[in-house]
Subunit: 200 residues, 2 copies
Amino acid sequence: MSAVQKHTLRGEALRQKVLETALQLFSERGYFNTSIHDIRKVAGVSTGAIYHHFKNKEALAQSLYETILGQMDDAIAAACAGKSACLEKSRAIIEKMFLMTVQYPQQMQFVLLAQHREYLPDEAPICSSSPFRMMKQVVIDGIAKGEVRELEPWVAATAMFGGALRMMNLQLDGVLDKPLSAYQNAVVECAWLGIRKEQA
Amino acid sequence: MSAVQKHTLRGEALRQKVLETALQLFSERGYFNTSIHDIRKVAGVSTGAIYHHFKNKEALAQSLYETILGQMDDAIAAACAGKSACLEKSRAIIEKMFLMTVQYPQQMQFVLLAQHREYLPDEAPICSSSPFRMMKQVVIDGIAKGEVRELEPWVAATAMFGGALRMMNLQLDGVLDKPLSAYQNAVVECAWLGIRKEQA
DNA sequence: TTATATAAAACGAACGTTCGTTCGGTATTT
DNA sequence: AAATACCGAACGAACGTTCGTTTTATATAA
């Protein structure tokens, strides 16, 4: 019979536990209000273990940021797959992002609300991250295909997704009384009426 | 002839200098990346002088926050004054906010982008601050007067102002190639087409 | 005008705390 | 036995804040 396990967490599992705990605390209290000692206590690991897996606190946040942005990226790409119309793609993106906001509020809080440039100085603004570039591209394609009016790309993109993003903020701030999904159709319709090419 | 002034700044003037410097540093580096010692150095005042005028660092930020929100409030109220149609009020609000974003980027950065709850724990989310409640009220009135479709208030408000707010973010992030005002008409038009009651 | 007294304002060295990080050692795996 | 993973006490730096002192402005008296 083998000896009792001294450590409950080792290797990759420990690494994941640290990431999970950091995400929880960062999204609850913010990056600067969360110390490595806090993460250590809540995760139930040692300081050394954290620094064995991550170069420093900033790298830990960086890892979280990239992972979550990547997940958003995959989700949005998957939502668009097989669709060609701008409206359908946009609807699918908003549906997916609303779903993720409800399902993974910590992740969305961390990516959407946090001011990453304050602690990730080399990070580009969120608007030029991959998920946001995809949204912009969807409406640019819509313009090219004649489904969307000939607007400035930035205007068309913010018009299509600006309302939805604010609704996600409201959801994360807990001020909505109905589930986020209940507003989805109306949000998409309002945005689309604003940018669609009128079928005269 | 009177003696040479030892202090260049005293009383209210010093207080204003501290506020001005704090706003500059907070908006450039963020609240947590700005120490009292930084403010002291840049403003050219002593630590004691800062603490003579402000209870602590948090109260300094609080004072800034309230002042700027108040200014936004006044500006928006003034923009709406004398107008009754929802579209005209909305256009005036967006015009004013675009102007303020260009004219006072530090102020807008501080109120719009910073995560105040991380250092002002008792502060309400920005969406329930007075300027944002006024925007929502404008579209609620528009619905009551039959100018806007019968949408959920939150949906109508985010549809009307969500795009404009994102454009302001883009301007503050420095990613726009044309002046913000150049996009104004298109932004207002897109939003309005989305929520107006169709004149059948 | 000049001198004196008092209060308010500004000063800045110093304090205690907390933070991110290190590192010598121990446990576990291979 | 060698390598990897983990441990946690300890460290130096930086932070927000304090407080005894000095300077300045103001009021009053000579």
